[in-house]
């Protein structure tokens, strides 16, 4: 099985990528005119759209905080996003991912500016092929920036995995299910801070360090693309 995933003779993965190669990344901002901010992010076949509403009045009132805005994040996979139909009801996994993504974004959003309000972030996975949470957090931070919500930095994420004993970057569904480890990482690259870190499987200390380094380099590339996507939107508006 491991040979299927990673071919040591050529040093290539099952889809022809090198171990430290990402899938093609595409980003666009302002894709949903009804939302205050929105973004569409694609990592290969993984496609995620994020929409931001707010800051707006929080309902129910008891949820509000007197000193800052609350962030509500819903990560959801569309029923058609997987090969077999996924029940649209929120699963345990989705609830957990909503929480980790919220915590990652809370580190970036300057919520003290809008006390007693709520900022709603909706992340909808349109097509899942591994790395949906990192694509989700990347899209959500772009959507927040598009909505004009002040942030300390953009958040970008990527997953590192281990297949056939080799560390690989940006794993897809196949590598995730058959591989030995999966480690999603999200960072605020400008400030060099990690805001999301999970690990499924086992890595040695050295592998972990190398994995973080791989993720950091990839995140910097994603960060450049994020900034480019935001600037493009700005320029587009200028021409309109």
């Amino acid at each position: 099985m491991s040979e299927l995933l990673f071919d040591p003779s050529t040093g290539l993965r099952h889809d022809g990528r090198k171990p430290d190669e990402m899938r093609p990344v595409k980003m666009s901002v302002g894709v949903l005119p009804n939302a205050q901010g929105s973004a569409l992010v694609e990592f290969g076949k993984t496609k995620v759209v994020a929409a931001v509403y707010g800051p707006r009045e929080a309902l129910p009132r008891f949820m509000t905080l007197p000193d800052r805005a609350i962030l509500r994040v819903r990560y959801h996979m569309a029923p058609f996003s997987t090969k077999e139909r996924k029940s649209p009801a929120p699963s345990r996994r989705e609830i957990e991912l909503s929480k980790v993504i919220r915590e990652a974004l809370e580190a970036a959003v300057i919520s003290e500016l809008y006390p007693k309000t709520t900022i709603d972030v909706f992340i909808e996975v349109l097509q899942a092929d591994g790395g949906t949470r990192t694509a989700g957090v990347t899209a959500a931070s772009l959507a927040l920036a598009d909505a004009g919500i002040p942030m300390r930095d953009l958040v970008a994420g990527v997953a590192v995995g281990k297949v056939g004993g080799v560390l690989v970057l940006d794993i897809d569904e196949f590598e995730d299910s058959k591989g030995e480890a999966d480690m999603p990482v999200a960072m605020m690259p400008g400030l060099d801070k990690i805001v999301l870190l999970q690990l499924n499987g086992r890595l040695t200390r050295d592998e972990f360090k190398k994995g973080i380094e791989m993720a950091r380099n990839a995140i910097k590339t994603i960060y450049v693309l994020q900034k480019q996507a935001l600037r493009e939107k700005y320029e587009k508006e200028g021409e309109a």
Partner: protein
Amino acid sequence: METQKLELYVQNMDIVVPGDLIGEGELEEYSPYIHVEGRKLFSTVLGIVEIKEGKPRIIPLHTTYIPQVNDLVIGIILDVGHSYWTVDINSPYEAQLNVSETPLKQVIGTENLRKFLDIGDYVLAKIISFERNKDPLITLKGKDLGKLAEGKVIEFRSSRVVWSILRRKKVIDALEEELGVSVLITSNGRAWIKGVSQEAEDTAILVLKKIDYSPFTKLTPSDISKLISEVKMKGGIK
């Protein structure tokens, strides 16, 4: 001396996005759009840099209106209570307008306040207080404040437009003179337009909307007449 300490890496009118390093040094004035990390200054929003006397300022592309005391706002009545109205001021916080803050004399308890201001009515008001744990309070007492019975109200999309039009009064003066309308732009991103005729009002709205949708072109008073004739041509207004 203070300004010498600040080293900027951006130029005037540069576009910045969250996380962009704009400079290093000490910032004299606090700004929600600049994040300070040690001595490094980062932008927190998508916007344009404006540098004045060596001090950076960021004008965000889109922002949410946060009430400030003494701001002039255009509000829409959302709800009518026993002795107050709830007013939408284009902000996450709903404002409250008490009867005592209107020119009305003592209102009898049984009287329905809808007689004076009903849901959907526009008012020109002033913020009198806004605290963290209380919703903003507004007043109708003051010169020119009150119900907007005539004219039209529009809402702007971009915060930068409000900022730039508010500052360039000459542009608005040119528009007012050319069309014979009076335009009032308030801090919460709304404008009230009142003209001699329906056509004049509509033309002014189209011109303002056009400016709103192309917020990054520099406007001079002479551009206004060009814009007006353009809008008139397209809309078939004589």
